[in-house]
């Protein structure tokens, strides 16, 4: 219960940041918070030694999955930041409200 509350609090805080931050860099930082909290919850679940989706998950699998998530998150951050840099060069701003190119 505590784990769940902590992880979800972190996740919600991160989500709030994604929704309200006006700068791309800050949005990316908020995303990192969300990802971190998700990893936390996953690994924490593995550490309870309980069944997940009907199968006993060995610690090895959980840890390996965690590694995957971390690596993917790092890759995501790399790409994201690269894009931010590119955007900053091209448009001279990283403010979301000034970047309305994805108008639907």
């Amino acid at each position: 219960m505590n784990l769940l509350v902590v992880a979800m609090l972190l996740f919600s805080v991160g989500l709030y940041g994604v929704l309200t931050r006006r700068d791309l860099v800050a949005v990316l930082a908020s995303i990192e918070v969300m990802l971190g909290s998700a990893t936390l919850l996953l690994v924490g679940l593995g550490a309870t030694g309980e069944m997940i989706a009907g199968t006993q998950v060995g610690g090895g699998t959980v840890e390996a999955t965690g590694v995957m998530i971390i690596v993917l998150a790092a890759a995501e951050a790399a790409i994201g930041l690269a894009l931010v840099v590119a955007v900053a060069r091209r448009f001279r701003t990283t403010r979301i409200d000034e970047l309305t190119g994805v108008k639907g």
Binding site: M8, D23, A47, T61, V71, A74, R89
Partner: protein, 164 residues
């Protein structure tokens, strides 16, 4: 109050504080410090649960890699936009509702299924992680490897070239 719950509370407190600073800070330096605290505490959780390999990975990749990336990115952006990142936050009811609603929904939905970890329940050695990575998850492992390569190339393409 057992020692376990004290450690948990401290780690959780640091993580929350770091997360909140990351999301609400108006100063770039504070934001990065908050993020660092958050990431470090996550690593602390892993170590505390005896998932030490994971903890080390978290430390290396995040604190050592991603955080540095952030710092560099902020510097580069700073050069391009001639102004520090615009860190104001547009608070609004919709976002609070969504974030809070998500929190409530997930917690109520999963509260019966998620129990707190028992310290040391996950006593796994690095060899066991390796066995999983090279056994059942080999395909994933390979795919992540390929993807990393692609990311490397992509980043070079995206940022590459002379700054105009």
């Amino acid at each position: 109050m057992s020692i376990e719950s004290v450690v948990f509370a401290i780690l959780a407190g640091v993580a929350l504080a770091g997360g909140i600073v990351t999301v609400f800070a108006r100063d770039v330096t504070r934001m990065v410090i908050g993020l660092a605290a958050f990431l470090l505490s996550i690593a602390g959780f892993f170590v505390y649960w005896k998932a030490s390999f994971l903890g080390v990975v978290q430390l290396f990749v995040y604190v050592g890699g991603v955080l540095v990336l952030f710092v560099f990115a902020i510097m580069l952006v700073h050069r391009s936009t001639e102004g520090s990142p615009y860190l104001e936050t547009r608070h609004d009811i919709a976002s609070i509702t969504v974030a809070g609603g998500l929190f409530i929904m997930v917690v109520t939905a999963l509260k019966d299924f998620v129990h707190d970890p028992v310290a040391g329940a996950m006593v796994t050695g690095t060899d066991e992680v390796a066995a999983v990575l090279l056994g059942p998850m080999l395909t994933h492992f390979e795919m992540v490897g390929v993807m990393l390569l692609a990311v490397l190339v992509a980043v070079v393409i995206i940022v590459g070239g002379e700054e105009r």
